[in-house]
């Protein structure tokens, strides 16, 4: 008896919807087994990571605050990944976006007015896009692999942050701590909006997910993104220029990461310091794939990943699992979602060896 993978005539719509759920469930099962095996209470750890943040309402603001940047960044990455333009450096664009916003704050320290926050947000988007423009330029001009260039620029961004908060932008009243001056009220956003436990970034993320959905499914540009990733030659035939698509998808995904960065800084941090980089830019890659590269899927997946962040901390205090636990679960989810993709295009069939009916001369040579 053998197990065979047979190609389907059409990718299964059912499997496309089901595999992300299966990946999350399998992550829970495998995670429980592994943590049990290394001496923790496995099932309890899984419960704390995946369920406590949902059942305990006082955890909701925390989940919402983490979901907002994850969804915002993932929306841009969904688009890039659809076009098979692999922006791995969203973390760097997120940092530079926050730096650009903080730059506006630095120069408007003594000014007042409701125009400052929109300006900061615009600067953040521009900063992220600018950082992503570097890999776009290198790719379109010199065919430099964008995976490497965008990833390496994350570390450049980190050094830039390091330099600015320990040097020129250091808070003069900060007791020599590496941090920028606190944002003024005109430079900050409320942590919760309209009496809900949700930050403004989450509302923006919800709104943009609908915009991205329409753009991806119905605009001429969205058609181009989908064709260029699926069949580059067909894209050219349909009138889309591959380099043009590289530019646009990188600028958009960079801009979204920059937006997430500046919103995070203006909402949560109130200032920039060395602890600002959070890894959201990397986790958002998982969000985009878990959400099947669909803008609405990214919303759901962003919330799931936010839950694992919050739950990971709960599990640390309750079950005493290590700090890296949430990361392990997140990585396992990405691995399983990518692996289960095989079921979308193929079906599993169990093949029984056929009994040979006729007596036949076996030709020399190995039988199968």
């Amino acid at each position: 008896m053998r197990i065979r993978f047979e190609k389907r005539r059409e990718p299964s719509k059912l499997m496309q919807a089901v595999t992300p759920v299966v990946a999350v469930l399998l992550t829970m099962v495998i995670g429980a087994v592994i943590f049990e095996a290394i001496g923790y209470d496995g099932p309890r750890a899984v419960k704390e990571i995946f369920f406590t943040p949902i059942t305990a309402s006082y955890k909701w603001p925390d989940v919402a605050r983490r979901a907002a940047p994850l969804i915002l960044i993932a929306l841009g990455l969904c688009m890039g990944n659809r076009a098979k333009v692999w922006n791995i450096g969203a973390e760097g664009q997120y940092i530079v976006g926050a730096l650009a916003g903080a730059g506006v704050a630095y120069f408007t320290e003594n000014l007042q007015g409701p125009w400052i926050i929109p300006l900061m947000v615009l600067a953040g988007i521009a900063g992220g896009a600018l950082w992503a423009a570097i890999p776009a330029f290198l790719k379109t001009r010199y065919r430099v692999n964008e995976i490497l260039s965008s990833l390496m620029l994350v570390y450049v961004a980190l050094q830039l942050l390091n330099y600015l908060v320990t040097g020129p932008w250091k808070d003069p009243n900060g007791h020599n701590f590496p941090q920028s001056a606190p944002f003024t009220q005109w430079q900050s956003l409320p942590k919760m909006l309209w009496g809900t436990p949700f930050p403004p970034g989450l509302f923006i993320a919800f709104l943009l997910s609908v915009v991205f959905w329409i753009v991806m499914s119905r605009s001429e540009f969205g058609l181009g993104v989908r064709v260029v990733g699926e069949a580059p030659k067909a894209a050219k035939y349909a009138g889309y220029d591959a380099d043009d698509m590289i530019w646009r998808t990188l600028l958009i995904s960079g801009g979204m990461a920059g937006l997430a960065g500046v919103l995070e800084a203006a909402t949560q941090g109130g200032q920039l310091n060395l602890g600002f980089p959070s890894g959201y830019g990397f986790t958002a890659i998982i969000v985009s794939f878990l959400g099947r590269l669909h803008p609405l899927g990214a919303v759901v997946a962003g919330i799931v990943l936010a839950i694992t962040y919050v739950g990971g901390q709960v599990a640390q205090t309750v079950v005493h699992v290590p700090n890296a636990t949430a990361g392990i679960f997140q990585a396992m989810m990405l691995f399983l979602i990518l692996a289960s993709d095989v079921l979308v295009r193929r079906r599993i069939r169990i093949v029984r060896p056929q009994p040979s009916a006729q007596p036949a001369v076996q030709v020399a040579g190995s039988a199968m």
Binding site: P11, L223, V227, K233, Y237, A238, V363
Partner: protein, 530 residues
Amino acid sequence: MAGPTDALAKNSSAPPRLELRGVTKRFPGVLANDNVSLTVKPGEVHALLGENGAGKSTLVKMIYGILAPDAGEVLWNGQPVKIPNPRAARKLGVGMVFQHFSLFEALTVLENIALGLDSKASQRELEAEIRRVLDLYGLKLDPKRIVSTLSVGERQRIEIVRALLLNPSLLIMDEPTSVLTPQEVEQLFETLRKLAAGGCSILYISHKLHEIIALCDVATILRGGKFVAECDPKKETSKSMAELMIGANLKEIARPAGRAFGEEKFAARGLSLAKHGDFGVALRDISFSVRAGEILGVAGVAGNGQNEFMESLSGETLAATPDAIVMAGAPIGRFGPTERRARGLCAVPEERNGHAAVGDFTLAENGELTARRRMGFMQGGLINASRASAYADKVIKTFAVKALGPRSTAGSLSGGNLQKFIMGREILQEPTALVVSQPTWGVDAGAAGAIRQAIVDLAGRGCAVIVVSQDLDELLEFCDSLVVINLGSLSRVMKVGEVSIEEIGLLMGGVHGDPEATVVMTEHLHAHPI
């Protein structure tokens, strides 16, 4: 053809070389071979004839051990055998030359042959052996040449030599002439006749009827996976065999006689393009002109710049100057595909999957690829999905595409149906000029006829049509004029009906790959323009 073959073929006392009895093969959803029986005598050239999808390839894959039959018997020289894999088939004495070659471009002929052998022999022994086989069958091939420098005909000879080195007693040839010039076909037939005279049976798969009449002793005809008839091709006509193959009367292409052409709609003037990549072809000073209602055929052996030609006409590659390509009097050389389409130029590239269509996209989305602007899908900057769907539905209905509807993916359609959809998608846009490559490649005869008729009708409505094809018969059947592309250059335009096959064959480069002969031929052609 009368030859020593006949004496052997009619020797009925010996058991048949190969006999299939009631062979059946089922794939998910398809019965590829249904109770097929076939007998090949020693030294017989046996044709296996059928449309695409008739089950020819499945049948020979079972003989060569690539597939296993679900039911039925295979007898070899009278003995029942099981052939579990190609290695076992080769051991029995079955050789096969595939339609698509598996050669490493950067290696020599000798190295390529050595890589494909089951047993290890020293380079020197192998070379001697290869030269012996080449001599024996009068094949011209230099074992030391790098494959990338060889013509398609020469590449095929490598595959033939590879099969002959094993002294096969049955040689299977799968559509061997689809990439050859008429002269190369004649050389191939000489070789096959010599082989058959030496007692080797040949199973010759083709759908080109005049070749089968010229070469084969017996023909087995398959249709829809079933055995239809066994006949003597010498006693049949192309038409009678074609009708057996299709199972219906052949429809002639209807075209009004004595059609007048309108004014020039599409022209290239001195179009040149630098070579792209190691195996690309440069286009050299291409000029031609097509009038309203005219169908211009572009003949040529694969790899002579057809792809580059197509892409520079469709706009996927831009010309150096605007006036290198002129449509309805306007220079469009520097416009991309979208702008050219807006001005009425539609194109269908050779490759269906991943170029003309995207397999994972629905038919409606595939319609959006090229028709979104011309057919008015755009509304407020967005693509109106219901209009795209309605258009796809119209294409499906008008061109009798077998598909569930606009929401089926392109990948779920058979090759012929997808081709009908793609052709329909472009034709219903009522282009001013249409450029098509291989319009009926891998399409069954019924669908091919419908596609050609649709092209003829479109021309009748005043469209200028350019058809690039390697199938010379097809071009001669429905084109008004003909040019030949060879090494990136176009010949002068010839009128169909006034030009002989031999001349076209020469222009296609019967001596392609042999630099010395090419020079001689080029000089000859310049001295005596056809």
